[in-house]
């Protein structure tokens, strides 16, 4: 019989709650004996999440966020800034123990494997995507997904973004891109670096179609059945505590 993992399917929450849920699942995994979990989710209102080490002032155009009603939070994972467009983006997260036989100990290998689930999901939609180290997935040479992993409490938490129909112009209104990063990639227009499913496929992809493809990608890659479930009581209590952190100025503006 196939191993079963929990699927927490397409919850729509604000930025602090989404980040609190990911952290709560990671904290509870070994302590409470909860199952390995895959989440697919969307952010309402649209939000920017920045990596743990990033400078909020350098990465985020705060007046533009204010103007467009875009929320801002800081993740517990490193990596770059992401624009989570409510109307055009799906975020996934995966929590599994570092000691899980399916999880490589090597960090790059584990990115490759987990990103492989996204690549396989995108293939279901007809997208020829590939993992591009350090932590990106590209299609037609352009970024379609960014991913970030942390290891704590004995577990791997990886989350990432899949651009379905993100407003790429708005993305670059709310994010600032450093000169060093642009010059390194020898590209003048940052927009040329990023794509989404609608641009790539030349057709509208609705959330339900993308969701089904991603679920299949995870199931095939990890040889598991994803069974829809909910947060436990303990996780829900953690979420209530943790989301105050993700809302606090002290956390969000710490660097």
């Amino acid at each position: 019989m196939k191993e079963t993992w929990r699927l927490i399917d397409m919850r729509i929450e604000d930025a602090p709650t989404q980040m609190a849920i990911d952290e709560a699942i990671a904290m509870a995994r070994l302590k409470e004996g909860t199952p390995n979990t895959v989440r697919l989710y969307r952010w309402n209102p649209s939000a920017v999440s920045i990596g743990y080490f990033q400078s909020i002032e350098k990465e985020v155009n705060l007046p533009a966020c204010e103007k467009y009603g875009v929320d801002v939070t800081r993740r517990i994972t490193g990596g770059g800034a992401v624009y989570h467009d409510y109307d055009g983006e799906i975020t996934y997260s995966l929590v599994a123990p570092e000691a899980d036989p399916k999880m490589p100990a090597d960090i790059l290998e584990s990115y490759k494997l987990i990103c492989g689930a996204i690549v396989n999901g995108l293939a279901e939609l007809g997208v020829d995507a590939e993992f591009k180290p350090v932590n990106d997935i590209v299609a037609g040479g352009k970024k379609i997904s960014g991913n970030a992993q942390t290891r704590r409490h004995g577990v791997i938490l990886q989350h990432g973004t899949i651009l379905v129909d993100s407003d790429i112009r708005r993305m670059f209104q709310v994010l600032r891109v450093s000169d060093a990063k642009i010059s390194d990639k020898l590209i003048q227009a940052v927009e040329e670096r990023v794509t989404n499913l609608r641009h790539y496929l030349g057709r509208q992809v609705d959330f339900d179609e993308a969701r089904s493809a991603l679920i299949k990608g995870f199931e095939d890659t990890f040889d598991v059945a994803l069974e829809p479930g909910e947060l436990t009581g303990a996780e829900t209590r953690l979420v209530k505590q943790l989301r105050e952190k993700y809302r606090s100025r002290e956390w969000v503006f710490q660097r």
Binding site: I76, G79, R151
Partner: protein
């Protein structure tokens, strides 16, 4: 305040912001889109540099990564030395 950015070839972006008082680091802040586990180690790295002589930079960074169980991804220990040096020269 001095500031510099350094994009690791094929890797991630690092930035350093710092002051120098009497030949010693003051207010070192390192930012970027790199990965470090555990994440909070960055605060310890900054502490390990503050109030130390600028000429001891390389030794102090190397000692920090030798003495602490820190995993880097997308950058290497030497890249922290490089970005802080660039900030000093700015």
């Amino acid at each position: 305040m001095k500031r510099a950015e350094y994009k690791v070839p094929g890797g991630k972006l690092l930035a350093a912001e710092l002051g120098v008082e009497g030949g010693r680091f003051a207010g070192v802040k390192i930012t970027g889109d790199f990965f470090m586990h555990p994440e909070a180690a960055i605060i310890e790295l900054e502490k390990a540099l503050n109030n130390t002589p600028v000429e001891d930079l390389e030794n102090n960074v190397n000692r920090f990564f030798q003495d602490n169980d820190v995993t880097l991804f997308g950058v290497e220990a030497g890249d922290f030395v490089k970005v802080v040096r660039l900030a000093l020269e700015s």
